[in-house]
């Protein structure tokens, strides 16, 4: 039984198009142990590519994974876990690596009961939030489908909506792997067995906070919101049959039937409808990002931070000085840039804590970013991903490794 790593932790970063896929390898005298953090894609990676990535993971880890982490449910983080009939999907390859542990956020717990020690009232709130997330997912999917039935929708909205669609195969595969090995549905402060599986490495779970961990005002607002989304989904469904008060069915209108005086207004209304659907999809996207597991690996002098796509709301809990995580965060040496470098996933408070930044007199903060330009947002409204100002700051802080650097040239890069 090894007691400590024999060298520094290695990170292998895969190009999966727009998505995250990182393989951590901890060397021991008895052989390295490997942790796969996310395996997703949404852009530019055909399934054959994902299968090659899966096979490369299998080769690199020598046929055995110690753990799989699926930070959150977005396709760009879990798509690769999907299986195929005949057992030849990338997810089948990962399952064959028999991970001892599968780590997911508490919001993925199949029975919505991640912590039996929680008082019943809190358990109810947890369940409500989990149900609300799937209600939102269903609502957004139906609204986008409705919109698509009447017009072509903008590319970025189409992308965002697709990323938030349920990937049943991947979700089920993760669950199955968890059953075969061990499944952990984690939250801030959770004591993960990963620390035991990686002797000499301390693994801290910084997020996501549970409903109980959120302060009272927010908690109330949260549960109001949860109920709101579930009701809203019900409202979007067609009325029950024997209702009597439905309007007579309209004839499908064509542009020529709309009288001249109304055409301008009709155009305006179409934009309003689009904006409404967009805001619902965006809010779902954000809520989903905020379920991200935030892990910090402490190995010797190395501290590696993997925050998934956690945005400010998720981070707010861990960054509160009362939680005692600040000291740990100060020592981060390797930072997996949150949410592909978007403007609101690397809170300034967090950034200012990193002592390794050159600007703070450190040796240099190593950053890893999986990204692809022109998928998300635009420079005009300062929402481009990765955000230029953040990329500049990362470059100034130390070496920045991006999937952009080796895209097309090789599958992965080991650091």
């Amino acid at each position: 039984m090894p007691t400590k790593p024999t060298g520094p932790v290695q990170v292998r970063m895969y190009d999966v198009g727009f998505g995250d896929c990182f393989l951590l390898s901890v060397p021991y005298a008895t052989g390295a142990r490997h942790v796969l953090i996310d395996f997703g894609t949404t852009h530019g990676a055909p399934s054959a590519h994902m299968l090659s990535v899966a096979k490369d993971i299998a080769t690199t880890c020598g046929g055995k994974l110690t753990a799989v982490v699926a930070t959150h449910r977005h396709r760009d983080h879990i798509e690769g876990f999907a299986t195929r009939k005949g057992g030849k999907g990338p997810g089948d390859v990962i399952a064959s690596l028999k991970p001892d542990l599968v780590i997911q956020p508490w919001t993925e717990h199949p029975k919505a009961a991640p912590d039996a020690t929680e008082p019943p009232k809190d358990r109810k709130a947890l369940r409500l939030e989990i149900q609300s997330l799937s209600a939102r997912q269903e609502l957004a999917a139906s609204l986008v489908a409705r919109l698509k039935a009447t017009r072509t929708i903008p590319r970025d909205l189409d992308y965002l909506a697709g990323n938030n669609l349920r990937n049943v195969s991947a979700v089920e595969n993760l669950m199955r792997m968890g059953k075969k090995g061990k499944a952990e549905y984690v939250y801030s402060g959770f004591k993960t067995d990963l620390s035991k599986l990686l002797p000499g490495v301390k693994v801290h779970v910084l997020g996501p906070p549970t409903v109980r961990q959120t302060d009272t005002v927010l908690k109330q607002r949260q549960s109001d919101q949860d109920e709101f989304w579930m009701l809203r989904l019900k409202m979007s469904r067609p009325p029950s049959k024997a209702v009597g008060a439905s309007l007579p069915r309209e004839k499908q209108g064509t542009a020529s039937r709309v009288p001249q005086h109304a055409r301008w207004f009709v155009g305006q209304m179409k934009s309003i409808e689009l904006a409404e659907v967009r805001s619902i999809v965006e809010s779902l996207d954000k809520a989903m990002n905020n379920t991200s597991v935030i892990l910090l690996f402490e190995a010797g002098s190395q501290r590696l931070l993997f925050p998934g796509d956690a945005q400010i709301e998720n981070w707010a809990y861990a960054l509160d000085p009362k939680r005692g995580f600040r000291k740990l965060l100060e020592g981060v040496t390797v930072y997996k840039v949150g949410h592909h470098g978007s403007r609101n996933a690397t809170p300034k408070t967090l950034w200012n804590l990193f002592k390794a930044r050159r600007s703070s007199g450190g040796k240099g903060l190593v950053s890893l970013i999986s990204t692809m330009p022109e998928v998300h947002g635009s420079v005009n409204n300062r929402s481009e991903v990765p955000r230029e100002t953040l990329v500049d700051a990362l470059k100034a802080a130390g070496p920045l490794h991006s999937t952009e650097d080796f895209r097309g040239a090789s599958l992965a890069q080991t650091l």
Partner: protein, 590 residues
């Protein structure tokens, strides 16, 4: 020839008997379709709206109904609208027709919008423009499949959603809810009267838009006799003594709960309205994080208004209760009177509000002043005392510390230095009523006396002559003008202006500071009130600057404090979404 002979005769007869009527009656749903009378029928009433010859839609001189459903992409052609006072196609229609006939939905929306607009014009004594360049507000009664309804400045219109009732499974049409139609119409009107109230500012201002829209919607409903009657009849059987608590619980809460029953989850109506009535006043709530969101904070404004209404109402029925002659009719008649008076007061107060950066205290001072000018003797029912008391319970003091009456605005001569006077020597009285340039000249000539900062861009944005009937029965002519001032600078310039740059603000950050005032001239062209937000009030500017910066209320060009943080069409729709969880803090972003 015989025919030709007959025709002109008919025409002559018609002309001779034709007296144009100012209004026509249209049937509307009094409250919501779920509010039923004792016989189980939807409570409806025929209300007067300005008479006009309508095109199919209905489309009239201020409102055009366009039945387009953006979610389905379908347009429903409208039926012709019969002419004439007595011609209401739906006068005798049964409930199922009211619920399922899109023509009635269109009429209901049209009539409530027109009624609300007419109510504003009556109170203000002048035509009231919408908040966009155009005369006709577009109204989509089934505009979107969504549990939402909103005003959009960019679309020049109101969009009413329809959806499946979460509890009943039945279709719900927001265009049939009086409260929602009046609320959204009020947004459109206030945006026309005070377009800077949608700008980024301290939380009171956005909350005012929401709270005020609720006040207008609720008081309009209380002023519909049949609604009040149905509400009172329902609870009159309980036999409890009639007093303020009874009125509050029975009638008001009843109405609030009905309004929200199907709509609550969508717009938070039931909870919000119930809270507006039952919440215990607590000054600490004004600084509570949960009450910074516009709708929630708006509830704080609604509470004192409704409580003043209940007080006045119970005061009005007291003599009848004492003499044992109180009847349901007396109760609802008095409610309608009290609601109507308060509604006029609430609307008139807008003319006495500053053009920007409104606070609840400003609105209270405006309420007190506008009513005092028109009804100097308040001793009968004590509307103003009750308002002072109920606002006071929330820790909301009038912004004015003096005035002819406690809390009313002070005259423009207050604060003049010795020897200083407001001069009208070089301005022309007639032009002052019609020409913004003349008002600007007045402002410029008196910039020192009026403390108008002269190192800022200044513009007179509106000039509105209005007529009102005073307490003595005589017509009062007033002129209301608004101006604003603006300074565009960078954070580096803040120090030279006497302001502190927030520590984490970059020196190159673009910043806009605003100030301005409302000028009220009497019929002799004498300035009676100058309600202002001075651009050089450093305490106010510093507070606003820090608030905007903390919440990163930055426009899409990166400017802090500029007019539109959100594009026009998004402001109200987003507000309704924001209530359900959008984050307001962008302080940590890149």
């Amino acid at each position: 020839m015989a025919n030709a002979d007959r025709k002109p005769r008919t025409r002559r007869r018609t002309r001779a008997s034709h007296v144009p009527r100012p209004t026509r009656l249209l049937r509307i749903i009094g409250q919501t379709p779920s509010f039923l009378d004792s016989k189980g029928r939807i409570v409806t009433d025929s209300v007067p709206v300005p008479a006009e010859v309508l095109s199919p839609g209905p489309r009239g001189y201020r409102v055009c109904v366009v039945d387009f459903d953006a979610s389905k992409g379908t347009y429903r052609p409208a039926a012709a609208v019969p002419r004439g006072q007595a011609n209401d196609r739906y006068l005798d229609a049964n409930d199922s027709v009211l619920l399922s006939d899109p023509g009635f939905h269109a009429q209901n929306a049209y009539a409530i919008v027109m009624r609300t607009l007419a109510r504003f014009e009556f109170a203000l004594g002048r035509r009231v423009s919408w908040g966009f360049y155009g005369h006709q507000l577009q109204v989509a009664p089934h505009g979107i499949e969504d549990a939402n309804a909103f005003y959009s400045e960019a679309a020049h219109g109101l969009t009413f959603g329809h959806f499946t009732g979460a509890r009943s499974g039945k279709p719900v049409y927001t265009c049939l809810s009086h409260d929602i139609v009046a609320h959204e119409t009020t947004h459109a009107i206030v945006d026309g009267l005070r377009d800077m109230y949608t700008d980024a500012a301290l939380p009171d201002q956005a909350a005012f838009h929401e709270g005020f829209a609720d006040i207008v919607a609720l008081l309009s409903i209380f002023a519909i006799p049949r609604v009040m009657r149905a509400s009172i009849e329902k609870v009159a059987k309980t036999g409890r003594p009639v007093n303020a608590a009874w009125l509050k619980e029975s009638a008001l809460l009843g109405i609030a709960e009905e309004l929200g029953s199907e709509l609550s989850p969508s717009l938070g109506r039931a909870e919000a309205l119930r809270r507006s009535i039952t919440i215990e006043p607590d000054p600490r709530l004004l600084s509570d994080p949960a009450y910074q969101e516009p709708h929630s904070r708006g509830e704080i404004l609604v509470h004192p208004m409704l409580n003043a209404f209940v007080d006045v109402w119970s005061e009005r029925v007291k003599p009848f209760v004492r003499s044992g002659s109180v009847t349901a009719t007396r109760l609802w008649e008095e409610a309608a009177e009290a609601a109507d008076h308060l509604l006029t007061m609430s609307i008139r107060a807008l003319d006495y509000c500053p053009p920007l950066d409104l606070t609840f205290g400003d609105y209270l001072s405006a309420l007190l002043t506008s009513d005092m000018v028109l009804v100097p003797d308040d001793s009968k029912y004590g509307y103003r005392d009750r308002l002072r008391k109920h606002f006071g319970a929330w820790g909301i003091a009038p912004s004015s510390k003096g005035g002819l009456e406690t809390g009313a605005w002070q005259g423009p001569h207050h604060g003049l230095r010795r020897g200083q006077a407001i001069s009208t020597e070089r301005v022309h009285f007639d032009s002052l009523r019609t020409d913004p340039d003349e008002v600007f000249r007045f402002l410029w000539e008196n910039r020192s006396a009026l403390r108008v900062y002269d190192d800022a861009y200044t513009r007179v944005t509106s000039l509105r002559p209005c007529k009102r009937v005073g307490p003595d029965g005589f017509v009062l002519h007033e002129t209301v003008a608004e101006y604003y001032q603006k300074i565009d600078c960078t954070a580096n310039d803040l120090r030279s202006l006497g302001l502190k740059q927030p520590p984490d603000m970059d020196g190159h950050q673009q910043v806009t500071l605003f100030g301005g005032g409302t000028l009220i001239f009497d019929e002799f062209g004498t300035l009676r009130y100058h309600v202002r937000k001075r651009i050089d009030n450093l305490k106010h500017q510093q507070e606003k600057l820090e608030y905007l910066w903390t919440h990163r209320l930055i426009d899409r060009f990166g400017r802090l404090g500029s007019a539109s943080v959100l594009a026009g069409d998004e402001r109200f729709a987003r507000l309704h979404q924001a209530r359900m969880g959008a984050s307001l803090s962008r302080a940590a972003e890149w």
